[in-house]
Amino acid sequence: MIRFILLQNRQGKTRLAKYYVPLEDSEKHKVEYEVHRLVVNRDPKFTNFVEFRTHKVIYRRYAGLFFSLCVDITDNELAYLESIHLFVEILDHFFSNVCELDLVFNFHKVYLILDEFILAGELQETSKKAIIERMGELEKLD
């Protein structure tokens, strides 16, 4: 199960934070700070998996943004690495060559996409096409 998803830039600013477990606001800030510190200094040759408290963080850097997923110890790391990539592809498709600024100004849409992709800490849909179509339908209603 995914415990939380974080999108942070290299300076440590959180662009997206979605938690699937209950945490106080102060705890959330602490977590974000710690995860940032963990991933920002890692050499790109190292593994994409780090142990974090009693869980694992799987992260990948795309341009200036770190996409981090915190999962249970027993989960398949390589699979989640794939799901991060799928998410990035969806964002890229939706915003047409997405950049960080798109995510900042349209954060509520990013959350909507995320909610179509992952629910209750598990994968909801694996087809990029299906998610984009759904987002299109939702946009029409707005």
Binding site: L16, L23, F46, L78, F107, H108, D115, E122, L138, D142
Partner: protein
């Protein structure tokens, strides 16, 4: 309407915040916006509610508090339009979580929305429910979600499935209701629904064993078929990732099959084919393929044994291990650890590669590899493996060194085939990374050395050599110092040379040099210096020629600011100066601590137990805390060989209990006193104490401080050797504590004077012009150490003595037990008697000796008489 309220659009606010140059500016902008939003909320502004909430969400993401917006979410959710509901639910998920009580208010809205005609709104509600519902909400809304599992739209079905996962996690009892619907979902074709259904089944199996049974029976074949179809399916652009159709679904199916097959041979049989197919056909040049292979290997390892499959799996792992991609190697190491339990032989084959991984530059890989190596070690390969690990110890970086040292030490301890190898390896580790070695480990090393009597010579010589070359490793220095102290004579005389050793000449002064260096180094810490002092004392006995030099070195610490060192220095100096006769006995070879009991104790307890085996006993008197209400006679016990006397809390209790003002000469225990301070207070209270042998000053405060010094230091000596400390003569004339009177009331039953046993002549213990005290002795049969003394006080004057008080003090090797006197008033020319019992732990070696103090009132005047009784018969 307030001109500021909701004027700015979301985009503009974001732009404004981004253009701020400093944090203070940003705070100002945010504050203004929050004020505007709050104003709008209090005015119940409908039009811009949803824009305000979006702004609030952004502000929340920046890290500012936004609690005032929570009710707004509810209002938005309750409105009828889709856009409002959408922002409302989004904000709900962001600003609230299941622990807030406000969430309960949403339940009703959720229920209505779950029954809405617009399926997008149903979707919103399911999403919110699935992400943040609490247990009560789950229970309330479970029936709705169940119903939605069979909705006509697949999007709703898949959301409902994931929502159900959360529900059964929060309320496991409800799991039964979901079994059937979940099973029917497994037959779907839509990938989205299928993957969510598989996840739902996985979680159901984890939560309820009934579900597990059901799925195992009914669904295993169906799942196998689904996987087969997918593996054999043709290219599908929608789900294709790197040439594989929907790897995510592959992985989920494999995971579910693992749970179903675990522990059940039939189910496992069912899946063998497909597993073999997946394992062989999937290409592993892309991450997606590797992810599937990884999951497949995991499944093969967990289900019931099929030899061929297992071999296949281990081969895949072996391939992974040599992959250049770090991720792959990491997961391979991970899986190999689990494979150890299944097929250790196969894993051993890859030992060399794993050892290489220990030296990898990536910290995660190193750690995993080290864990794996630790599991791989057995009796046959421990020597080469340890050699490799120790070799790497030099090259490793600081954080890894600690972990590596730990592992090496436990390996060496568990598997060492012979003692000499153990000592060698430990020496190497200590030389390399002594600062990382835990205390227990070098304590254990000392125990082993002391037990291996034929290796004493070898060890001490090796340690001597090592300490000459490496001086920074604290633990090495400590062990070396201890050994040189203990076995200095063996070192100098080259006793017990083994064939493999090179000859080495060490003179006595060289040995003393080595220890002196340890003391003088300013980087040595307290433990090392303390150990060095004791080692010097031992050497002074073993090398009498160096005695004078050693004394000088010890004296240098006499004024040390550290209490421990000062104490030791003074005590040892005393021994060297005045007590040469006992010195040899004091510093004999340490009694060997039995290894079995040591390791047993160590396994079960804290390191404090180890302190007795080494020379570093910081005498931690966690002794028997005698209950405060214990018979007061205990307080008169001056025993010290066994547990230390009652803690200071006992002493305070006594003070309270007796309400006695004991302040005059008894100094209150200061905080800096060693824990034995409690004993000292009590001893002072009852004006029974022992004074240091060297001092004879009569001023009370001096003696008090020296009492505390000495009793503590004597107690310390106690811990260091198993022999009793010096006989400390002397007594302190402390304040007249009228405690004795009260003790009369408490006193235990008077001694019965048994006349059995050898008779001893009575003795006039003390005589002055006004008073005579005589002792009659008897011993109980079969108890030669205990003497019963009947003391008779005779008034030699024509005056009556009132408030008669007799007090006695004995050295530590004696135990004194005073009974109440027959009366407090000594009539003129009359006498009274008092019984006492003395137990001599040094019976036969030392005779009794006692200092006495007698106080009484004569004609209203207080009289005090003191003396010492030295003329006890020798064999008491």
């Amino acid at each position: 309407m307030n001109p500021f309220s909701s004027g700015t659009r979301l985009r503009d606010m974001i732009r404004a915040i981004r253009s701020c140059k400093t944090a203070a500016e940003e705070r100002a902008v945010v504050r203004k916006e929050c004020a505007a939003i709050r104003a709008a909320i209090s005015e119940n502004d409908q039009d811009y509610r949803h824009r305000n909430l979006a702004k609030l969400m952004f502000i929340h993401m920046l890290g500012y508090p936004t609690h005032f917006g929570q009710m707004e979410c509810l209002k938005l959710i309750a409105s009828s339009g889709f856009p409002e509901k959408r922002i409302g639910y989004l904000a709900l998920m962001l600003l609230l979580d299941e622990r807030q009580e406000v969430l309960m208010l949403v339940t009703n809205s959720l229920k209505q929305d779950l029954n809405h005609s617009n399926q997008y709104i149903i979707g919103l509600a399911l999403c919110a429910l699935g992400n943040i519902c609490s247990a009560e909400m789950a229970r309330d809304l479970a029936p709705e979600v169940e119903r939605l599992l069979q909705f006509r739209d697949p999007n709703i079905r898949k959301k409902a499935a994931l929502c159900s996962i959360r529900i059964i996690k929060k309320v496991p009892d409800l799991a039964e209701n979901f079994i059937n619907p979940a099973a029917s979902l497994l037959r779907e074709k839509h990938h989205g629904v299928l993957i969510t259904a598989v996840q739902l089944c996985t979680d159901l199996c984890k939560v309820s064993s009934e579900a597990l049974e059901y799925f195992r029976e009914k669904c295993t074949e169906g799942l196998v078929k689904t996987l087969k179809d997918m593996a054999n399916s043709s290219y599908s652009p929608e789900y294709d990732v790197a040439g594989i159709t929907d790897p995510f679904l592959h992985i989920r199916l494999l995971k579910l099959l693992r749970i179903l097959g675990q522990g059940d041979p039939d189910a496992s049989d069912c899946m063998n084919d497909i597993l073999a197919q997946v394992a062989t056909k999937i290409e592993s040049n892309k991450n997606a393929g590797n992810a599937i292979l990884y999951e497949c290997v995991g499944t093969i390892m967990s289900i019931e044994d099929n030899g061929g499959l297992r071999v296949l799996a281990i081969n895949i792992l072996g391939r992974f291990l040599s992959n250049r991609d770090n991720n792959i190697r990491y997961v391979a190491l991970n899986m190999l650890m689990k494979a150890m339990t299944v097929d250790a032989q196969a894993v051993q084959r890859h030992r060399a590669t794993i050892l290489e991984c220990v030296k990898d530059s990536d910290a995660s890989i190193r750690k995993k590899a080290l864990d794996l190596v630790y599991l791989l070690v057995n009796e046959s390969n421990v020597k080469p493996l340890t050699k490799e690990l120790i070799g790497y110890l030099e090259a490793s970086d600081q954080e890894f060194k600690g972990v590596l040292t730990d592992k090496i030490c436990s390996l060496v301890e568990k598997f060492s085939p012979e003692k000499i190898w153990y000592i060698d390896q430990m020496l190497k580790v200590l030389s390399e990374a002594g600062s990382f070695v835990k205390d227990e480990v070098w304590h254990a090393l000392i125990v082993v050395i002391s037990n291996a009597s034929d290796l004493h010579g070898y060890s001490v010589r090796a340690l001597y050599r090592a300490s000459q070359t490496t001086t920074e490793q604290e633990s090495l220095v400590r062990v070396a110092v201890w050994c040189i102290g203990e076995y200095g004579d063996i070192l100098v005389n080259n006793v017990g040379m083994l064939d493999i050793e090179e000859p080495i000449t060490v003179t006595e002064s060289d040995a003393v040099d080595a220890v002196e260096v340890a003391i003088k180094r300013h980087t040595s810490d307290l433990t090392t210096k303390a150990m060095a002092l004791i080692a010097l004392l031992k050497l002074s006995s073993r090398f009498p020629s160096c005695s004078a030099r050693i004394k000088d070195i010890i004296l240098q610490n006499k004024q040390s600011f550290v209490l421990e060192l000062q104490q030791r220095s003074i005590e040892f100096n005393c021994i060297l100066q005045k007590h040469q006769n006992v010195r040899a006995a004091l510093v004999e070879r340490m009694p060997v601590l039995d290894e079995a009991t040591f390791s047993g104790r160590r396994a079960g307890s804290l390191p404090t137990s180890v302190s007795t085996s080494t020379g570093t006993a910081h005498n931690i008197p966690n002794g028997i805390a005698k209950p405060a209400a214990a018979p007061v006679a205990d307080l008169l016990d001056l025993s010290s060989d066994d547990a230390p006397a009652p803690s200071s809390s006992g002493g305070d209790f006594l003070q309270d209990l007796l309400g006695v003002d004991l302040s005059t000469a008894s100094a209150p225990p200061s905080a800096s006193q060693p824990p034995k301070g409690g004993t000292d207070v009590l001893l002072d209270l009852l004006s029974i104490g022992t004074s240091p042998p060297a001092q004879s000053s009569s001023s009370a405060s001096d003696i008090l401080s020296s009492i505390q010094d000495n009793t503590a230091s004597l107690a310390n000596l106690n811990g260091l050797t198993s022999l009793s400390p010096l006989s400390a003569n002397g007594n302190s004339p402390a304040s007249p504590a009228p405690v004795m009177d009260l003790l009369d009331g408490f006193g235990p039953s008077p001694q019965k004077n048994e006349e059995n046993g050898p008779a001893y002549p009575s003795l006039v213990a003390y005589e002055s012009s006004s008073l005579r005290m005589s002792f009659n002795f008897s011993k109980q049969p079969g108890n030669p150490q205990t003497t019963l003394i009947q003391a008779t006080f005779t008034n030699l004057s024509p005056n009556v003595y009132n408030d008669f008080l007799f007090q006695a003090a004995v050295p530590k090797f004696l135990q004194l037990h005073l009974d109440p006197a027959s009366s407090n008033t000594l009539p003129a020319n009359g006498s009274i008697s008092q019984s006492m019992k003395v137990t001599n732990s040094q019976h036969g070696k030392k005779s009794l000796v006692m200092r006495i103090r007698i106080a009484y009132k004569m004609n209203g005047k207080e009289v005090l008489e003191e003396g010492q009784v030295n003329n006890f018969p020798r064999d008491l």
